[in-house]
């Protein structure tokens, strides 16, 4: 129940973020760097996810799509 309450607070957190001062284009220098991307190394991430998928019962979460595999 407590986790559900925390979950309900998350949208409020993101709505609160909307009130943040807008970043100007020249303030986005760090965000534009490769290492600031959500998935900075897609091929390495694919390989790691494939290993975890073959050894664990849970998978996914970061996105939809990707290939199927008979390993699990």
């Amino acid at each position: 129940m407590k986790s559900l309450q925390l979950l309900a607070l998350l949208p409020a957190f993101f709505l609160g973020a909307c009130a943040l001062e807008p970043l100007q284009p020249w303030d986005r220098d760090l965000l534009a760097q490769d290492q600031m991307q959500l998935v900075p190394h897609p091929v390495n991430a694919y390989i790691a996810d494939h290993i975890y998928f073959s050894k664990e019962a849970a998978s996914g979460g970061a996105g939809v799509g990707g290939g199927g595999c008979g390993c699990n």
Partner: protein, 434 residues
């Protein structure tokens, strides 16, 4: 330069403006997107202690074919060999089994977790297309196909990304579906049927199903379908902080059983009486909450994520993943990595079944047991020049579970029913733009 009056200022501005405008477009690489190819390639060498070895090369080619429009093609090949648990419980005496192909026998020593040898290869290709629809709306499409000796998969997905709030917020909605086909080596075994102990050509064909017109040994296939829906929000919190939150819902249906897994049927003393092919429910509903934050320190970058997963097989799982990118000067970096994973057992998981008490669903696949994984890794990367970088990473994973569960039957209490798994992954990668 000494400013001597309004005329000098005007002249200086004129010179500066002309200098800027005279920059050759060929030197302004960011304007020349049509000529850029992005090649990302990696090779994985994966090894499990006393189990499976895998070699997996991956090649990804990405090209911007229009302003903000990208096409990405990825090729993957897997070569797998080694041995994997067949599902039977360890016993106080040696156990002999027939291989899945029905052509040979193999023996597990007393007290050892029975392992079955296999070799397989898998080839996969996927195509991604990212298409801007307006200044704030983007779409992404994916199609993928993979094929291995006994399994094929065809999948597709589409996502919409909507930038709002001065592009500080991106709202994401996506849907994907896959159609998989399972065609096990040696034929499709009937779920919960006795495991045949005779080798070909005298093996007990009657114990195997011949589905979909498979027609006898070596034939038969079944399908497995899945769809996934995802909604998410990505938020720029500060100049240094990016945060993502996703919820996804998915459903799998069809043949979700592993055709190669069996389980032991034992008497009340824990002595093995026979083996049956496993059976899993033909539907599974999955939910995932995924949170990720990327934070830029003065030089270094931290990636941290948490995933909570739950499904109607009663599996609940938490995953924490932390990567720290330690910048070493301009061209080098080190990336230490830690991941913790834990899951509860599926409600039909069992190490062995009591004779005369076979349930509607049963599997002894240890990947459905309660387990934990700890992964530590380190990647070294070098930016060779503006267009080329390479990296070398090593990850070590240790998976542990309960070797002596309280509900073990009879003499099985004295056997190690969960064998820890240790894996090592070495990944070499290179990225080039030209």
């Amino acid at each position: 330069m000494q400013l001597t009056g309004p005329r000098s200022i005007r002249n200086s501005l004129t010179v500066a403006t002309c200098s800027l405008l005279s920059v050759d477009a060929a030197h302004a690489g960011y304007l020349d997107y049509d000529s850029l190819w992005n090649i990302d390639s990696a090779v994985l060498l994966y090894s499990e202690q006393n189990r499976v070895d895998v070699v997996e090369p991956v090649l990804q080619i990405k090209k911007e074919i229009g302003e903000g429009e990208f096409v990405t093609v990825k090729f993957v090949y897997d070569a797998m060999s080694g041995s994997t648990p067949n599902g039977a419980a360890p016993a106080s005496t040696a156990q002999t089994f027939t291989s899945p192909s029905g052509e040979s026998k193999y023996t597990a020593a007393a007290h050892a977790l029975p392992l079955v040898s296999f070799t397989d290869a898998r080839a996969a290709v996927s195509v991604d297309w990212e298409l801007p629809l307006s200044r704030t709306l983007r779409s992404q499409y994916n199609a993928n196909f993979s094929r291995e000796t006994d399994y094929s998969s065809l999948g597709a997905s589409a996502s919409l990304l909507w930038d709002v709030n001065n592009k500080l917020t991106t709202l994401t909605a996506g849907a994907g579906a896959s159609l998989d086909q399972v065609k096990p080596t040696g034929g499709m075994p009937a779920e919960l049927s006795p495991v045949t102990m005779n080798i070909a050509p005298t093996k007990n064909v009657s114990a195997r199903e011949t589905e979909d017109g498979g027609g006898g040994s070596g034939g038969g296939s079944k399908s497995k379908n899945a769809y996934d829906l995802l909604v998410g929000v990505t938020q720029v919190l500060t100049r240094r902080t990016l945060m993502q939150l996703n919820y996804s819902f998915g459903k799998s249906s069809g043949y979700l059983t592993d055709p190669y897994k069996i389980f032991s049927v034992v008497d009340s003393n824990g002595v093995t009486q026979s083996y049956l092919h496993e059976k899993r429910p033909d539907a599974r509903t999955r939910n995932t909450l995924y949170w990720k934050t990327v934070y830029h320190l003065p030089e270094d970058v931290v990636h941290v994520s948490y995933r909570y997963y739950w499904d109607d097989w009663d599996i609940k799982s938490s995953t924490v993943d932390l990567t720290y990118r330690l910048q070493l000067g301009t061209h080098f970096c080190l990336e230490p990595h830690y991941r913790y994973y834990t899951q509860t057992a599926a409600n039909f998981f069992t190490h062995a079944v009591l004779a005369g008490n076979v349930p509607a669903y049963a599997s002894a696949d240890l990947r459905l047991a309660a387990l934990q994984s700890n992964t530590v890794g380190l990647r070294f990367a070098h930016q060779w020049d503006a267009d080329t970088s390479w990296g070398l990473g090593v990850d070590s994973m240790r998976q542990t579970g309960k070797a002596h569960p309280a509900d073990a039957i009879g003499s099985l209490k004295g056997e190690a029913l969960f064998s820890d798994l240790k894996t090592t992954s070495v990944t070499a990668d290179i990225s080039m733009k030209f």
